[in-house]
Symmetry: D2
């Protein structure tokens, strides 16, 4: 499995009047993790855009287990989930970096649209097949 | 079914470099819909806080069907989903208000924590049972 | 003076761990007020874009007087400030709608860039001169 | 002068439909810089809270010179500005980290409120005087 880990402190204004990170910000944490993964494995939005595709999110889900507070440090583990459909699926586990307790987990699914006409691409683009060969062969 | 409908224009900065509303903002749209429901049916965060409870989100999911753009108007339909477990479940359908096309749908699940100790309340609080009698009897 | 007034409740996640609206969100309130003004007086981003211009913010300032809390209602008064330079200047006063106390005030300055090359337009575009004749003649 | 430098990539959803970072996000960049300064020089919100004070922002201003885009890297230089009034003043310069062009600059002013009653503290708290002796003596 390809997994990256991103460590980042909770921002002051990400915490709500209850003192805990507002649930909607975890969607940002997922994107932070996905971008971090993309930067490390040449799969960022810009990499994919330069290949002629945009990859909108078509599904997101998240389960919230424990709160994070201002002062806590989030640890975002992003895992690439291979699939035979022409989709990008990532799983995310968010931990309290200090206590190592899991605070949330979830997933996103993205599809490939050709950037010139925004039409759905039903098979994997060639550059993704090449990417899979490079990174997942022994996975 | 209890459903409320909230109409609100897309904000300029909710749209991303692709010109479409960033997926994470739909979680805010869900909360906007839920708060609108709460204001109309006496079930807002503040109503519930005054009853001695906080109601954190424990699960959120969203499917994205079509984009919204700056200049579009979002129509957020929020539906209360009765359940026998001590949870609050809402479903959301987001439409392009002008074209009436569905752009996204999803749900949230909340649990009841006693505000003094943040312990999980495993049965419905009395005020929720009274609320259900008032609003769901013929539902 | 041309002034518009926008009434909107504080959102739950706009309040920070101190229970008060995070200062950065007032920049959003300013934009909400400016867009409301634009909708009422045909001066929205889209109106101006259709005339061939974009109008980036080149300066913003804000003084914070009192806090707003979740449960409070913001009243945003947006005033167009005429100037001989080719700029759009708006002043904003934000009140607690219930108590009528002022909670913040500030201003933004925008310039005109031609949308095809993003070059600064040093004189007022014709459509702005026509707009001023229509709305400010007896102002 | 005490200055810290924070390097961070622009996030995808910080850029607006024009492809440039929305102006309101610079207020977040200022806070990111201020928190980074606080972490390095023991002057974070939590440090100050533990000393019995909260330090709300009473003024913010920002001039925008050039745009940042998704794919760019922001370089945030945060400078502590000594003053005889019982205030914390920071200046911020934001650069495009790659080109070293300045993209924005601005400042924030904070005051000291006693956390138990939120009353304004008109003179510097003792811990701030000690902090100034430690860090600014030869400044």
């Amino acid at each position: 499995m390809l997994t990256t880990t991103l460590i980042q402190p909770v921002k002051f204004n990400q915490a709500d009047p209850l003192g805990i990170v507002w649930h909607g910000h975890y969607i940002q944490y997922f994107e932070d993790g996905r971008e971090d993964f993309g930067a490390k494995y040449q799969l960022s939005y810009l990499d994919i855009f330069q290949q002629g595709f945009v990859i909108p999110i078509v599904n997101v889900k998240c389960d919230f287990k424990k709160p994070l507070r201002y002062g806590d440090i989030a640890e975002i583990r992003t895992t690439f989930i291979p699939t035979i459909a022409a989709k990008l699926i990532f799983n995310y586990e968010i931990y309290n970096h200090t206590t190592k307790e899991i605070v949330a987990n979830g997933s996103t699914t993205q599809v490939f649209l050709k950037k010139e006409n925004l039409e759905l691409h039903l098979i994997y683009p060639d550059f993704i097949i090449a990417w899979q060969k490079k990174y997942l062969t022994n996975g």
